[in-house]
Amino acid sequence: MDEKTLIAKRVALELVDGNLVNLGIGLPTMVATFLPAGIKVFFQSENGLIGLQPLPEPGTASESLTDAGGSPVSFIPGAAAFDSVASFGFIRGGHLDVTVLGGLQVDEGGQLANWMVPGKMVPGMGGAMDLVTGAKKVIVAMTHTAKGAPKILKKCDLPLTSVRRVSLIVTEMAVIEPTAEGLVLRETAPGVTVAEVVAATQATLIIPDHVPEMAIA
């Protein structure tokens, strides 16, 4: 299993039947593929849809229906469309149960930076600041390191996406929960030791007596 699949499968276990979920573009989108059996969730696309699903077959795209990345999608029976004002009303108003986003950095305060690298990459924050500030549960799905350098730091040096503490960090090495006391190591990936996670993490991790292995199939 490649690392992105591992991350997506582990994130999928966080979703609860009936949840309203927003998946960021890229890795987070893969989460939809790995929903546990019997779990039905509603996917929101912030450009104005609840009830998004992948295009069922080629040749059925509409120019009036894409995901937030601009790719053609479809909708489930019982879907609803709305404008951008209403869409962010759901997000800001706490009606969104879970958002899954990528990350550039997360720090010991659980604060996320994921929208710009000054002088290098200034794409704009899109909906990320609203999502991280407003969603009930914020899951950061990212690789543990970038070119060998840790992404989980004592303090983010990139501009923050929000001062709000994220709920969970899922990487190919570990599941880490930011708490008021600091970052708690909740799970390690199959074949990864606690020492290896600690070595790949700049931030101080709180290590419970027992750190189980991720329960993924």
């Binding site: 229906l65 894409t66 404008d83 951008s84 800001r92 200034v122 924050m125």
Partner: protein
Amino acid sequence: MSKVTALADAVAKIPDGATLMIGGFMGVGSPHRVIDELVRQGKRDLTIIANDTARKGVDIGKLIDAGAVKRLVASHIGLNPETQKQMIAGQIAVELVPQGTLAERIRAGGTGLGGVLTATGVGTVVADGKPTVEIDGATFLVEKPLKADFALIAAWRADYYGNLQYQLTARNFNPAMAMAGATVIAEAHEIVPVGMIPPDSVETVGVIVDFLVAREG
């Protein structure tokens, strides 16, 4: 009381230097014909308020390519390298706004509110230079309303009075922008007799639409 106007005549009303809100999300739900005509008429020094600038050569991207834009208020420009190039070269002044805040600022402009009180952006670079207010122990940014000289809107269906219906994710910023433009130019896929759109299906009320551009030919 038909609002139908020839494309060239409607667009001729827009002077160089005007502030334009343009609907659409990565080109989905953008007024394609109005944008092409803006380029054809060689408008200059425009201020554009829009979610994004689509891709190079596509929709609002055509205005960027034409060098018609001197100022841009948007949430995301990451998929249009030309916009980033002109921003870095100092040709376009870009204000990046969180997507939900952008939607609410436009809504505030169109509905006479003094501003938007949002937690999105608090403690981040987005908050730089902006006042905050404390309400019941929580901190909110005061974000200013946005208005435009012209709102350029795309609809799915219109009647001759200018009542508009939108389709799926082609709705996005269009309804809010229609309220916030001093003059509203709407293009529609289809124009139907007055009374064809039931009152409960009208999403933008014709009384706020000034010019309606039919599909050519």
